[in-house]
Symmetry: C2
Subunit: 223 residues, 2 copies
């Protein structure tokens, strides 16, 4: 079985992707980040899911002392909005987050001899982050091909973003088929350390709720 | 004065670059990494130089638990060789190092509103690392243009590698004009915590010695 790295947050998209990669016959290694996010509670959810799925996981601790995001700085208020305009980049944008996460995934992939990185980015039901779009991943692929030892030796480490053009509802329907334990996933940006209930009002909650509504399913986390 | 990020190790190239950027009228912010490198002693040198040059600096701590390099894993022996073949990637290669460093520099640049990143990479007198070559930087630039908020808003953060095509001797001659305190720089990969003398045998020492010899100057660190 082919080893792959799964960028894993314990949220809806990346958990579905973990199960998807496994169903495709890959052996996923989960990579998680403790980067000072206000919803750091997601790491507890992520670890529990990885264990249940019997996938090894690794947490990298990383501080971005320059901040620059409502997810890193609790002084900045999270937006509460019901309509999300993806052409506008919100205050929850973390400067270079996916660039950083993918760089560390590439390092790990090369070191443990994995040939692919799976990322659960979504460019349809999303918050407008530029590092979740197709043209970004294409450019990053070239960066890996040219900057990694494996790249210049023509053993490319491939970035896969299989949900890029799927709606949230499509992702959820796929996940239900794969028996993804959505009741164990955490998406909410507002996450006190021992939160039990998502806030229901942040972008991430709004997108999740819309996805479940469109899929015609009740979110098991809210049952 | 325009703020810029300087990827700074306290070695010969990046110190020359710090002085170069200052001489060009930029206001450099030094970004340093404590990434588990065996020559971690370089950070003490780097901090002292940044202070002397009156430039603010930031150290990011980062562990790459998957290793994969003689610079991270003391069990792997450093090569001792007098002729360095840059078509061969040595065991001191750290998987994705410059990809990671540039990703964090991009995050910092965007957060503190700096418009450029300076990196002292050199593709002539170098160890053969793929992430030190022109085609790599070109691809990375596109990644930043497409993945950063500033990029999509057409306020590009530009990667500058002004020494890419310079020989070590040319860099040293430039540095001497700029009064770079080479006696305070540290290049050696073998760096016990309180090292005072470079080993003289690792790739980094060999390249440095060759540079000073070709510039016709005695390395002040060895005086």
């Amino acid at each position: 079985m082919k080893k792959v790295i799964v960028l894993f947050s314990g949220g809806l998209d990346s958990t579905t992707m973990l199960y998807y990669a496994r169903a495709k016959g890959f052996r996923p290694h989960c990579l998680m980040f403790d980067y000072g996010q206000r919803h750091r509670v997601e790491l507890r959810y992520a670890a529990a899911i990885a264990q249940q799925a019997q996938c090894p996981y690794q947490v990298v601790a990383l501080r971005l002392p320059w901040g620059g995001s409502a997810l890193l700085d609790k002084e900045i208020k999270l937006p509460h909005r019901t309509i999300i305009d993806p052409t506008e980049i919100p205050v929850t944008y973390v400067p270079a987050r996916n660039i950083i996460f993918l760089s560390l995934a590439a390092s790990m992939a090369e070191a443990i001899d994995a040939r692919a990185i799976f990322i659960g980015a979504n460019a349809i039901d999303y918050s407008g982050y530029p590092d979740c779009r197709s043209e970004f991943f294409q450019a990053y692929q070239k960066t890996l091909d040219r900057g990694l030892k494996s790249g210049v030796q023509e053993k490319t480490i491939k970035i896969h973003a299989p949900f890029l053009h799927k709606t949230k509802a499509q992702i959820i329907r796929l996940g239900l088929k794969l028996q993804v334990p959505y009741e164990r996933t955490w998406s909410c940006y507002q996450g006190a350390r021992y939160a039990r209930r998502p806030c229901g009002a942040c972008d991430s909650c709004v997108l999740r709720a819309r996805g479940f509504a469109q899929a015609g399913v009740v979110d098991p986390l809210l049952k």
